[in-house]
Amino acid sequence: MTETTEFALNSSLGLTLVVLFGIAWIIFGWYLGRANKTHEDFALAGRNVGLALASATAMATWVTSNTTLVAPQLTYQFGIWGMVGYSFAALGLILFAPLAARIKKLMPNGYTSGDFIRLRYGQLAWWAFIIISIIYAFGWLISLGMAGGILLQALSGLDYHIGMTAILIICVGYTLFGGLRAVIATDFIQALIIIVGVVFIAWYLIDTVSLESIHQEVSSNHPQLLDLLFPAAIMFLFNNVFFGLGEIFHSNVWWSRALAFKGKVAFKAFLLGGLLWLPIPIVTGFIALAAPQLGIFPPSADMVGPMVAAEVLGKAGAIIVFIVVFSALASSLDSLLAATSDLITRDIYHKKINKQASDKHLMRFNGYSIIGLGVLTWLICLPQLATLGALLNFAGAFVASTIFPVVLGLYQPRLRGGYAAAAMVVGTLSGLAGYFLVGFYVAALVSCLVSAIICAIGVWRCRTVFDWQQMQEQESNA
């Protein structure tokens, strides 16, 4: 070991923590996985998840990397509006509550969001939807894998490749052994760890640095951060809201949860999860505002949160930060692995390739796809290309185009598949055009707007009415 003074933790301690956590999570995942007898158990935790675990998993999956890394980053860049605007992402969970109840009612035996699009809109829209889903899932998986490597390196000097490999192996491990049950149970514990850690860090920060001195330093040297009329922040606000709505409304991460929750629990769980999540980005974001007062100016804005926390709390605190960040990344990564492998198993393998596959066979294939996804993510993360991490930046253009097709598809029988497909494709293309021609702050907004207009025309011009029964009948044959 040559030099460790630059890092809050030394590398061997970092590595020990990773290995200990890894073993604990994997054994826990295996323990929970013993109850999985069928593919339904594995993919949807037996469709009987109660309110406590349901609310915690809704919140924890949404807390995760977004809140511990992105909220401080946005606060560092956009100030007060950055953190308040970020907390508006809770609206995604809250608005998904009625949709989740509707999903449970329309397709009590459904498996994935892809199932819904296929039954409701047909093949063409399904293709558009599945491509958007896969692009988004990979963007997120890669950014999480890379964030894992970069953050463990920033905190402890542990090599990027080791951090990235370890976090992928651990998440693949317990998701593989335990399925959605393990994902949900670990989410509950990870949620508690993250919140307690974040509250402790913020409280300690206020106690040592004081709100007055933070306010004074920021207002004299970085005045724009406290300005409520900060143009870029105002422009970006609703774009971020639509990005969040698109992420939640389309992603199988949230659909599989809605389908896994017990009867009436889905609505309450998403509502409660959203309300509990609402104040968290402001607490984590606030940590970034203390950076100038502490003389910390991060190499890149997304590292500001952990750097401030590690600086203020010293070595003992750095362990807390390490564990919080690690839990945060893991609780998103596991959910994404589980939900994306379900999508591949159910929508692509079972429905397109092997329609006669037995339940046992599907369960095994689901396991293989978790491993496959892990390996593929690992390979893409290996060269540590910064540009890949930026992939998630324009994912907003993709996901926001699904908002109206999903919402109208669930409630409005007068929207046909052709229009839904056009709304997603044209919406995405317009969003991407906005991203490259105008700026990142319009991508999701333009995408959602264009797709809403196409959907409106579709509903207005439609003369036939979709029979909701079709979702049930085909489901029982499946």
Partner: protein, 39 residues
């Protein structure tokens, strides 16, 4: 520019609400556990 009072109120209120979240989750868990409604 946001005043010190408004800034402090916002942060402290959110900190307090966030601190309540684990308590709510644990209470719900105990309730579900006792009534065997966890899974």
């Amino acid at each position: 520019m946001i005043s010190l009072d408004a800034f402090s109120t916002l942060i402290m209120a959110c900190l307090l609400l966030t601190a309540c979240a684990p308590l709510i989750l644990v209470v719900l868990w105990v309730k579900d556990f006792l009534s065997k409604q966890l899974w």
